[in-house]
Amino acid sequence: MDPAALIPIPDAIPVAWGWLQFFLLLTFFLHIVLMNAMLGAAFIALVTHLRGNHASPYTAAVAGNLPFAVAFTVNFGVAPLLFVQVLYGQFIYVSSILMAVFWLSIIALLISAYALAYVYKYQYARLGNGRLAVAGLITLLLLIVAFLFASNLSLMQDPARWSRYFDRPQGVLLNLADPMLLPRYLHFMVSSVAVGGLAMALFFDRKHRKGDPSASPWVKQGCRWFAHATLLNVAVGLWFLVALPKGVLTVSTIAGLLLTASLAGGILLAAPAVVFGLAGRVIAATWCALGAIALMILARGLLRAALLAPWFSLSQLSVRASYSSFILFLFFLAAGLALIVWMVRFTLRSCAAREARP
């Protein structure tokens, strides 16, 4: 069956697609950074437990903060999910339905992982050696969730494989035949380990600056995790590169040029990132990492456009203008961010004031 005949007709968008794409990329970038930190922290905590260390300040720090990471990761995941539905709804709804059972199971997996994160936090002291099991389970659940997300995005960009639905309409399809799926998934997962290490380094670097003497070996450890994982990720990334369909990486079109350039930029930034990491220069490494991730996410978006190009381009979407609702959102966004900043400052001030008074 001709895939083009299966692609649903998209609805009109309320503002020019550039705005939506901007917010999609921005919120997805924040989501990925948070997700990497969350999953990486859980993973590194697991490895720490596996190495027999059940009482390290690192795992205690992870236990204390993992629920916050989950909360913000989920929150920042909701936003790109919204924007991707507006821009690519006709693709992502289809892929979600084709793998409906797996897709829906994410809810149960996520609730379980989130609940376990609180168990890890509030029962940390009592768990003892049980911390390994809890950390392991959290990591496993999150790894599965991530795989299911990667599968959905893979299927979404692969209309040629959609007609498998007719043999199995019960929502149990995955896209395992996609040569890009596994390297894509592993690329994100190894990146999580890297960012997890970076988060560890940053956390203990802050403690170190505040005068905690025991913090600096942890900064070094975090940097090592980051550097080694990033090196590994270059290899995984090359696997992903090789798995790309022919003709996607081209410089003959503007889109291809942009894709190639952002990919190249992301890869190139890996070098100073690793160097800074190995040198223990946390802040510099962080900027390089964020830069690399940002460029990679841009590349990912361009890759999506390239993969869907035979059937669709965003400029085809018709616009039924409703800029007033967009202005409303921008107002709430600005006001909301300002309020959050004020709240944090207010809290810090109030706590300091309370500590000052006996």
């Binding site: 649903p8 909701v78 829906l104 609180y118 409303l328 709240m343």
Partner: protein
Amino acid sequence: MNYPVWQLDAFGGGLWIVLIAVFHVYLSHFAVGGGLFLVLAERKAQRENDPAMLDYVRAHARFFLLLTMVAGSITGVGIWFIMSLLNPSATSILVHTFVFAWASEWVFFLIEIVALFLYYATFGRMESGRHQVLGWIYFGAAWMSLALINGVIGFMLTPGDWPKDASFWSGFFNPSFWPSLFFRTFLALIIAGLFGLTTAAWLKDARLRIVMIRFCARWLLLPFVFFVASAAWYRAALPAELQEMIFARMPSMRLYVNGFLLCSPVLVVAGLLLIFRLPVGLARALAIALLLIGQLYIGCFEFIREGGRRPYIIREVMYSTSILKRDTDRVRQEGVLSSAKWVRHREITDANRLAAGRELYNLLCLACHAVGGPMRDIKQLTAPFTPSGLDAMISGMEVFYPAMPPFAGTPEERAALALYVAQGLNGRSDPAPVALVEKKVGIPAFDPAASPFVLLAWSPQSMRSVAEVKGVLSLLPPGNSLRAQLIKRGETPEIVNQGVALSYRFAGDGGAGKPAISGEMTAEEDVFVADNIPLRPGVGQVADPYPTAIIEARDESDALLAETTVVAPVSAEIGCSGCHGGAGQGDRPGLYRETALHILRVHDRLSGTALLAEAQGGATVRCQSCHADALVKAQGDPARLNLSAAIHGFHANYLRGKGAEACGFCHPSSNTVVARCLRDIHAAVGMDCVNCHGAVEDHALGLLQQERRAGKGQAAALMAHLRPRSAGGLEEVAPRQPWINQPDCLHCHVDFQAPETDTVVNARTSDEQGLYRNRTDDSGRLFCAACHSGAHAVYPADNPSGAQLDVLQPLQYQGNRLPLGANRNCAVCHTVAMADEMHHANSLRAFRNE
């Protein structure tokens, strides 16, 4: 239409969204109301300078944080996931219209998360007044997120002007936005109290426990009045037809409306009870019970809101089938299987009919009906139907079940869908064509040269239907009629009506060992009459619709003057079982015990009666006790429709657009039954019921028109969906009384001449005397039917159960099958040829249709 369908069976019908959404709304309303609860509880602790109370607030805040963050927020994502899985088309409309409302809501979620984390983490670490500021910010953000999603949810039920102007603001600030927002806000406060009760009841310190329980009781009671007021406001904001549908008509809504109404006083009473000092065990039990009741409470409300929106997913815009309202006509023309994208079987063939039926089911039914699961299980709902019956039901389902959308496909698709459900899922088939057994009857002798009398007999009805189940339902009691005229032969024949006694005797016994049915005929002016003969044919596998009687005319000395045979047609093969079930495998259509019980059940549900209970108490429900029926001379209840108007007016809505096969759904006129209504010359020339009686819509409209002009409101309601097929408009439909205003021979055979048309349009006999069966020839004495036989079986009639059965007297007296005296055979009565055309115009001639 656009998207693939997630094929579910037992989990279909929306079960997933029920499970996820009902749970989520409870927690999310708690997340809103609970924010205010925390702030006010903390303020109370601060004012009363009560550190133990502050500890309670902190513990409750932790409970609150865990529950709303882990379960509340992720199930919210769950609703997103499931709505795009179950109805991506509608989700796409909502997302593309309200993306920035959702994006704004997301900003408030972010504020909520930060505020709640800061609030919880800083208990006791900052001055209480400042700490409460964080709590207020949390509550404000939570309430804003409620307000934003409230706009989208309300839009789905009352889209306001949006279908016309497609404006974000019209859609968001829709007619139910404000009442719904107030409703949900007060509900959130009540729910906050319920959850607060649960944590308060578990306090170990008795003093504090009582204080906090009372505090929570206030959260139950104080908002209640405002909550009820906003509920009334919410209801009033709904369009009138929606209010009527939800609160008056939909039987399935009654459970949830009653549940909601029942839970309300329960919560209030519990709240009042809690003010008293209860023993701790009782307080805890009550707290848990109330928590569960609260879940049921909001569940009932959400069911009412969601169910009341049916058949739409977005009212007036898109049906639950994902078909846009404005596309319905086009899809009906082109077909669902052609219009939808994700379809394998675009053409229906014999080989793929069931598979195409399943695809149609997925596209049109699965959104609301599970296959073997708890959500409106289609297998249970359609268990009584045969494939044809279900096809008819689907064609009119939206008329009496406004929660159903009008069927969106072609008639062929409808038939395939009905076949998939009735046969594929429930294993039911249409009854097979019946093999007729030939019946032969002995014909008494007649000597044209010597016999002194001609005894003519006929049945005024060509088929008397009997539909009764003793102790349950009586739709049509038995009661055949016979008429006879005894003619003394001669050049001027005489109609003998004195000094003779006519009697009838049916062959065979009267069933179940009773004596054969027989009796005396009553002499009226020129004719002998026998009425209310209780002939009762069998049902199920055996039926003889043509019991034959021997009529004897005897003089005063009991000498036999003349005898003849006549058939009194009677049938119990009424088609109720096609839709109302009750027939076993291989049974022919009929009114069985289960059929009758089902009919009463449906009647109770749709008309608000209590007939099933009456029947189960042992009484036989007689339709004619409420519905007047001239056939059995029942007065009924003058405020209600007469039986014919009610039964045709109702069922015609399911039989629209058909020809004579519509009649065959109920009346014995198809090849699946032994009896046949129409057996005469008209059938032989290719006419059917519709030629004289009109299509079922016209037939029903005529009856309803009469009742409507008599001022009966139900008639107008039944007429609303019927379009006349022959008359111009509704006002041109001629009113008629059943059994009295009928089509007549002379409407086509004008002045007894050859007909120029074969279709009667809107013409009826004006009164009972004008009916064929009551009319005579120009002499005023010889009944038309004496020579031509009863209507529907006029000579020459060809009975498929036996060639002789409907022409017994022509065979006896003329040796042919024609009307008495046809082909200038006046000698049958006059003994000689005649020159004057006396009986009626155009009678002295060669018979036209030999």
